[in-house]
């Protein structure tokens, strides 16, 4: 290794990144790049080089070839999808994590990586007001960092299938009778998880009319009917903060239905879960006291870079019973002692990087007060945007909760036209979606560089896309 080359390239890269962030903050770059499909492929050589190249040349090419063709998720005018959180502390942690290069599959393969993860998951559980049984300190439950809400849900569903089958699932699979339940508002990923788990399609539970939230009575009826029909209800996936409208399934009432029937309740709070950092934003419907597992994407609204999802379980034995396994080459004294946590048994993959350092850096660099202020700031901006929509003739506010604002034009055709025109404007990104069968536009706040000025500018761009009233 050329050590000097690394030190100077890393300092160089840090400078380029800081300059990049400044240019994003100043809106000097478009959100959406100009090139059609094939633009980047067209300039990359068809084969890998035979001989090594200088790190500086590779950095130059990154800024010449890659950066201009990215969608800039950190841009203040990026309001598409839910945000991809980031911060200097998170970036610094990725540098250190990569540099230390350890693999934390078991306690014995890097004790500090495991214990740091236990501790930061406990920190966050307390900061979010989660029940104590979700902490490692309780001796019963605990948190684990996954790469995504999908992987978290898959782990939870696996544990649920194991429980519902009385352990038979481990040897015999799903056998066609196990069922998982959610609403049609659950994230895209829930359906994929249930499919990949070998269950097929989830059973869709009706929402309460006029809302986008699961109907607990309908759930109870469906669970009982399915059980009477010889099926085996295994898990319900409730959402706190749906993608389309940030709706909240009534977790306590769903939990009571599940508890009475021994069905696993997994709560997908990928986006909205972070809001619970602020006590004034906690809502009774989101309280997971009766949940078996609960997941939040720190990489959405906690200034932490992707990937960083935290999955908490109330009973770690149920999770490791489903996902645990060993081989002779993984046996070690620490595991045999029963005194340690081996996170390989809390997730699908065997190997894993030291995942906790990033969350540790972010929580310490921002402090809980700092992260609360991030969320309050974004909510204030969303409130501003919502008020601008409401005041604008020709637009309607469809939903507004936390940092999400959903809007439409007067008619569906006009909404589609706004979307079409907006797509041609690379300076702003909102996401088209469909709510109650009607086209809408979603705008989610989250960029560290957004402020009142950028929100007003985004809104000026959107309203300028409105066609004349019919």
């Amino acid at each position: 290794m050329n050590e000097h080359a690394f030190r100077s390239a890393a300092a160089d890269a840090a400078d380029r990144l800081a300059d990049h962030w400044r240019s994003l903050a100043a809106c000097e770059l478009p959100v959406v790049p100009p090139g059609p499909p094939g633009t980047t492929l067209g300039v990359l050589p068809e084969t890998a080089p035979e001989r090594g190249e200088d790190l500086t040349d590779i950095l130059d090419d990154t800024w010449r070839t890659i950066v201009p063709q990215l969608v800039h998720w950190q841009h203040p005018n990026f309001l598409g999808y839910f945000p991809a959180g980031n911060s200097p502390a998170s970036v610094l942690a990725e540098l250190v994590t990569a540099g230390l290069g350890v693999q934390g599959m078991m306690w014995s393969t890097s004790p500090a990586a495991t214990e740091l993860e236990q501790r930061v998951c406990d920190w966050l559980a307390r900061a979010l007001g989660l029940p104590a049984r979700f902490t490692h300190a309780s001796g019963r439950g605990g948190g684990v960092i996954q790469d995504s809400a999908s992987s978290a849900a898959l782990a939870a569903v696996a544990a649920a299938l194991d429980r519902a089958s009385g352990g038979r699932w481990r040897e015999h699979g799903t056998e066609g009778r196990l069922r998982v339940y959610c609403t049609d508002q659950a994230n895209h990923s829930v359906r994929k998880v249930v499919r990949v788990a070998g269950v097929g399609a989830p059973v869709l539970v009706p929402t309460v009319p006029g809302t986008h939230s699961m109907d607990p009575a309908a759930l109870a009826g469906r669970l009982d009917a399915d059980r009477a029909a010889g099926l085996v209800p295994a898990a319900v996936v409730a959402t706190v903060g749906t993608t389309a409208t940030c709706a909240i399934d009534p977790v306590p009432r769903i939990g009571a239905v599940c508890r009475d029937r021994g069905v696993w309740l997994h709560v997908d709070a990928a986006y909205a879960g972070s809001a619970a950092l602020c006590p004034e934003l906690r809502v009774a419907d989101a309280e997971p006291d009766l949940a078996d597992s609960y997941a939040v994407n720190a990489h959405k609204w906690m200034r932490t870079g992707i990937p960083c999802d935290i999955l908490w379980v109330a009973d770690r034995g149920e999770l490791t019973g489903a996902l645990g396994a060993t081989s002779s080459y993984l046996r070690n004294d620490a595991t045999d002692s029963g005194q340690v946590v081996d996170f390989k048994d809390w997730q699908l993959p065997l190997g894993r990087p030291m995942r906790a350092l990033k969350l540790w850096y972010v929580l310490r660099a921002h402090g809980l007060e700092g992260l609360r202020e991030v969320i309050r700031h974004d909510i204030r901006l969303a409130g501003l945007l919502a008020s601008l929509v409401e005041r604008e003739p020709g637009f309607r506010l469809v939903a507004h909760r936390l940092g999400l604002v959903v809007l439409r034009a007067e008619t569906d055709e006009m909404t589609r036209e706004v979307t079409r025109r907006l797509t041609g404007r690379p300076g702003v990104l909102c996401t088209p979606a469909v709510v109650d069968g009607r086209p809408v536009l979603r705008a989610a706040l989250g960029s560290a560089y957004a402020d009142e000025t950028t929100v007003r500018r985004v809104w000026d761009t959107v309203r300028a896309c409105a066609p004349p009233s019919p």
Copy 2:
């Protein structure tokens, strides 16, 4: 953001890492840390701080609290497990990837992230001598970066179940009749993947006596018998480089058996796959011409930090048919045009970081010649270690292939005693395992800092742990 604080903290972190690598190379640190369970937990506060802290203080704490309690996977005397690859180029890439902070779930959410991934997967397919149909350039197959060989296998198994069920799996799950096959030498993770996929336990196919490689005739017999019994064989997982002994399942003959029966063949070449970078190391038994999917962990033997596994498929439509799905908020013109690749449909999770930058940096910084030299160097060192074992009275060479050396003492009790004593020596790490029912020690080369001197020192430590002959 305090931009100046980031620039200076990143330069500081790079300096600390370069110093850390130098101290690893000089063997100034033990491989295994001294603290018992709870050491790190004991010094971390029980709650997150309310107020933000300086990045420099966090870096100080990292080196004070975390680094001394890590197992150092990059240490030259670390021979446990398969290596966790790393290099300055890989670390630099993680810094840049984190700093750019984009989410590459679809082409439209960051075109360059997607196209760069297509290109580097093609680069690597060619460099490994994989069939052209595994490249994106073929228009039919292609590669995708996953976090682990487990996730790669899960994606492949999902596609296999979909194919074997004629698409019925998507709605109805595994239904208790679909089967997946491997040997008892397949990695730990394969069993977990098959379980999590809702199939239950894999069917274990016998190995050829005297080897640890799958018996293709036994496989054919088992597939036919299962089909005759009304079961539905869906996938075979063959291994190129098993964990215990680096055995190679005869992929071409297994492929012929699978092809004749329409069964999906997934090749798990997590460790040994990288060796195919060197033409002289390619072996006929590992050729995946008849495979449907093939996975290599660049994060094992390609100087690339974890996570970085590449999964190639021969028919991308089969993969995206199983894992693809959409929602109104994910629709976009580029996807609708059919001209782009959306990697969310090639994996379980919805979101994903820009995964390709790291592999691009590593391939360019080292060049293919540089990576070949890494592998040849490790193989030379493994050859040295194997020769030392063979010359040593009281020790036996159990297996030796590529960078892996497996050994035992004269009797099982003596091997267990060597293992016990070696566990008490924090300066060296080898892994105990069981081969053919007998305890062994595994040593896998891979540290960038290992050389003849470190190998001889490791061996001196191991042999010094031998008890007197009975």
